[in-house]
């Protein structure tokens, strides 16, 4: 145990890490935005459709949730272009994967949000003469925030951590940055110590910020 800690090499290449963490956040933000659109759309369709449509949506949700993200990343990046005529770079490919992945989790989030809106409120909407669409827009969606906002925050933090898997297809996010520095400097302990701290600090700062936002946007009842 005569390993001498030395962080100078890490600070020299710190731009790889700072760029990496920003890219990680960016990937997570794009994925949750697209994922939320997928999730909300499918959740609304789910609650207002028959069994066949529901079965299709459930199949999508269950498939994604029960397969490793790593395999999905490989499948979309290496597999898909061999059968469909598409070409995309690693980052785009990863965004597609993570968005579809996030969508599956968010269908469940929005669905339980829609289910949790008290029936009395919907009846009140009906009594006022609101159309189903108006009831959705003005009653259901605004009142489900209390349930969905915290779940959205948690999903975002999960996605932020999941972006580390993008490193396997050489997307230069934080984990890839760490590997890059590691391969050149061999300061293994220091690289992973610093990287871990960055993930923790960034993750908890984001979570703290999101909790503040939740408090502002929550509809009390």
């Amino acid at each position: 145990m005569n390993y001498q800690l030395s962080f100078t090499q890490i600070w020299r290449h710190f731009d790889k890490l700072s760029y990496g963490v920003l890219l990680s956040i960016e990937l997570a933000v794009i994925a949750i935005l697209i994922g939320a659109v997928i999730g909300l759309t499918l959740a609304v369709i789910y609650v207002s459709s028959g069994r066949v449509v529901r079965a299709f949506i459930s199949a999508y949700v269950e498939f994604i949730r029960n397969v490793p993200l790593l395999l999905l990343v490989y499948l979309v990046f290496y597999g898909l272009p061999t059968v469909v005529n598409i070409a995309y770079d690693a980052s785009t490919s990863f965004i597609v994967t993570l968005s579809v992945y996030a969508g599956a989790y968010l269908v469940e989030v929005f669905r339980s949000g829609l289910d949790a809106v008290p029936k009395g409120l919907l009846d009140a909407g009906k009594a006022m003469g609101l159309t189903p669409w108006q009831r959705l827009l003005h009653v259901r969606l605004p009142t489900m925030t209390r349930i969905t906002l915290p779940a959205l925050s948690n999903t975002f933090i999960s996605l932020f951590k999941d972006t580390s898997i993008a490193s396997v297809i050489a997307v230069p996010e934080l984990t890839f940055g760490a590997q890059w520095i590691n391969n050149r400097t061999f300061r293994i302990v220091e690289v992973y110590a610093v990287t871990t701290v960055i993930y923790l600090v960034a993750g908890y700062l984001i979570l703290f910020g999101l909790r503040m936002l939740e408090r502002r946007f929550r509809v009390e009842r």
Binding site: N66, P68, L75, K161, T175, I188
Partner: protein, 219 residues
Amino acid sequence: MGELIDAVVYAMPFLMGGLGTTLLVSLITVVLSLVTGVVLGVALIYGPQPVRWVIRLLTDCIRGIPILVLIFAVYYGLPPLGLNLSSFWAAVFALSLFKTAQVIEYVRGAVSSIPRGQMEAAKSIGLIFPQRLRYVIFPQATRRFLPPWVNGVTDAVKGSALVSLLGVVDLMQAINQVIGRTYEPMPLYLLGAVMYFVINYSLSSLSRVLERRYAYIKE
């Protein structure tokens, strides 16, 4: 179509070998994390304040780090500090850390949902602490612990795919190796996805069955 079947027949023995490793990694992880998670979870609830802080800090840290980084940190980070683990055990150790933090949360949730009066009633008939846990708290907590825990086993199975990145030949790595020889990525990734799906869907279905069964037991 015939070629596809040929490819599957060719690949199957490799994939089955990989699947064995995937299941082994998952099993060891699940057992290790169950034992340490329950012990630390109980310590988090009933232990003295400093112990609780340490466990809280530990779980919050682990939960904030991506599993992949955890695996790399254990595999590459420990040897320079004088601790050598094979890639298999490094991966198992890292996955167990991640799962332990999860189990601690499940235990905390299950135990803290039991009304305080249960502990008091158990005290009042003269049971000592280990007896109170064994005869009063655990039997009730188990019903709340089991459904999320079984569902959480899927996280171990899915997470185990990351051991392929350390060169361990699990199902994921076996798929990659076969693709390296056949240049047929899509059918193999789909086949692998189905295999993972079957295992994990069975587990999550079991979790739902347990949840429904225990929902009938009124408290």
